[in-house]
Point group: C2
Chain length 134, copies 2
């Protein structure tokens, strides 16, 4: 069911410093920052030859990653995103096997403009998993 790893997301406490580190120290190709007010984050995608890193920085007072950064002041790996062909079929299969979908359970439009869902970390080895329909 799951296809490509679309990205690994890293919550960072200092977006400029993280961008400079990936661009200069690690020598990766960094795209311009984009604000995602619907998701409460500013995101920066880093293109690797086979997948992407997504830097996440809080946007607004209600950012869903604020709590994560409070618990992890240095930052940390926040989630990983797997591509699926049919997000509703994937959701229904996972739910029928007991996995919990976060929020309303209905897909939202993610940072790539495509439908996404998040799965409960407790049901997936402590990992927050995003599914994105491609």
């Amino acid at each position: 069911m799951i296809g490509r790893l679309n990205h690994v997301a890293i919550a960072v406490p200092d977006l400029q410093a993280a961008v400079a580190q990936y661009e200069n120290t690690l020598g990766a190709k960094v795209r311009p920052a984009q604000d995602e007010p619907d998701h409460g984050v500013t995101v920066v995608f880093i293109d690797l030859p086979n997948t992407k890193i997504e830097l996440l920085y809080p946007l607004g007072d209600d950012s869903p990653i604020k709590g994560f950064l409070d618990k992890n002041p240095s930052g940390g790996i926040h989630h990983m995103c797997f591509e699926v062909e049919d997000i509703l079929a994937a959701r229904d299969k996972l739910k029928s096997e007991g996995a919990r979908v976060l929020g309303s359970g209905e897909p939202r439009i993610g940072a790539h403009g495509k439908p996404v869902l998040f799965l409960h970390p407790k049901d997936f080895n402590g990992c927050l998993i995003e599914l994105e329909q491609v």
Copy 2:
């Protein structure tokens, strides 16, 4: 400098359950488990179309992931591994820019039989980064 994302490693508290979940619930291609006594882990690689997931389970009393699982009983994303062409050149560049390399600072042979190094999470947004020479 960094190339492909070689894998994302997930520490899991129940290897059999995690294997079954990735194979059956998530429908991914799971390879047989391999014991890595030099690293204190049993690993299971999961092949995605563009990269791999590495499930990690403690092996022996001195496993380096035991502490991680004590702190994260459900498991969690443990590290991500970037490929580099020349691990000594990468190490020297990173060290010259102030990043700390874990352990002796000399590459060890990793689960793929290739030289690897780990970088200090505090220097990389709270993320444990493995470099593997390919």
